[in-house]
Symmetry: C2
């Protein structure tokens, strides 16, 4: 069975910058360790929907047509990866702007200005050159990819999107219950997620993304419900216990 | 019909300190204005469950037995209100503790130390006297109360607890849908509450309180579900729109 657009799959990959051979992302803990990669994430195959915009364009296209278990080495040009470098995104910022905020810029420093992440290229003559291009813009990338699984079970499809969009160290996906009936998917998340400290709005946004990927890619689903259940226990739960 | 323990009612009240006649809380916007009360809240009758611990003990007891529409003037001793004053809760704190944090204490200043609110009584000899008793501890209170409504409809009972525990300026209670079936109450909150910025944990706590008041005081209810619904629209909603 070959991978088609709209399929829910689990993907393993390692991405390198062609020019330097530097590994910048991987789903393998071993590869990350060997490359000295400083990223905090859980490793293992990641769930995505093919053509769902979860991957860079070149990768999305490359997995289409692959068989379950198949491995592939691909090369992706900048235009199908993180785009070309835009010289206009390199900006000169007066040193005094940094001083005002008590920041001492140095080459390689990563900073966020008005929501945009940039890297300091150099500091000279009272001016700081900051590059707001994506770090991988202009780079040709090499990927080793493997289609670890094509997900066919509807419940597993739903769970895979929860794992993709709702990263939470507290969540145990096996404690999440999914019911599918009459075009409605009802999701009872692991109890622990109720005690998440992130703003409710962020939870809503994650839930919206899960829902959208479901109704766009699962035949006949028009509605997704997230249900938080509170049940009367035989022994009364005190508020203090609930707050723990 | 007289008010019983476990009844859902809407209450109007104005509370004064007997000794001084000072109004400290009221459900009437007019009274608050006249008294120059600096409290930010919505006015109008507040929904409570009698005996549910939502009121001070003396008030809870006083409303029991009142008729719908009845008004009453009552006097409540400290032990049935905010407790007696505890001299041990007045503490001397070295001035240097305040200096460390750049705080300049003055009599009447309200501050929170390790989660406890206190008021500065005086500052002298390098020491600051702070009173951690409740501001109304030791005070005999006078209340004018009126039972505005005894809520008999089950849906309205549920909605009243949402209003009590889930204060949100964005929420329109008329847009909240309640279904009661087979011992389960399912609540579909007003869409706008999804975009609340408070931590999800706080939402969970409010939901727990609503649920507990429901199953403790509504016959046959054992389960409360809060459902957040996401529906496929004919025109696709973009993420940007959803984030607005």
């Amino acid at each position: 069975m070959a991978v088609n657009k709209g399929d829910f799959i689990k993907l393993e990959f390692t991405g390198k910058i062609k020019e330097t051979g530097e590994v910048f992302d991987t789903t393998s803990e071993e590869v990350a360790k060997d490359a000295g990669l400083q990223i905090k994430k859980t490793f293992g195959p990641i769930p995505i929907v093919v053509g769902g915009g979860h991957l860079i364009k070149g990768l999305d296209e490359a997995v289409t047509g692959m068989e379950e278990g198949e491995e592939k080495h691909i090369e992706i040009e900048p235009e199908n990866a993180f785009g070309k470098r835009d010289p206009k995104l390199v900006q000169l910022i007066p040193m005094r702007e940094f001083k005002k905020q008590g920041i001492k810029p140095y080459p390689g420093m990563v900073l966020t200005i008005e929501g945009h992440e940039g890297r300091v290229l150099n500091v000279s003559g009272g001016r700081v050159r900051v590059d707001f291009n994506h770090e991988l813009a202009g780079k040709t990338l090499e990927y080793d990819v493997r289609v670890a699984e094509i997900i066919t079970d509807d419940t597993e499809k739903v769970k895979s999107m929860i794992q993709l969009h709702y990263p939470s160290q507290n969540m145990d996906i096996d404690k999440t219950e999914v019911r599918i009936e009459d075009g409605t998917v009802t999701i009872y998340m692991d109890e622990m997620t109720k005690f998440d400290n992130r703003p409710y709005m962020d939870v809503t946004l994650a839930r919206f993304r899960i829902s959208r990927d479901i109704w766009q890619n699962m035949e006949g689903i028009k509605r997704v419900e997230f249900a938080d259940v509170f049940e009367k226990k035989d022994e009364e739960v005190t508020e203090e216990e609930a707050e723990e």
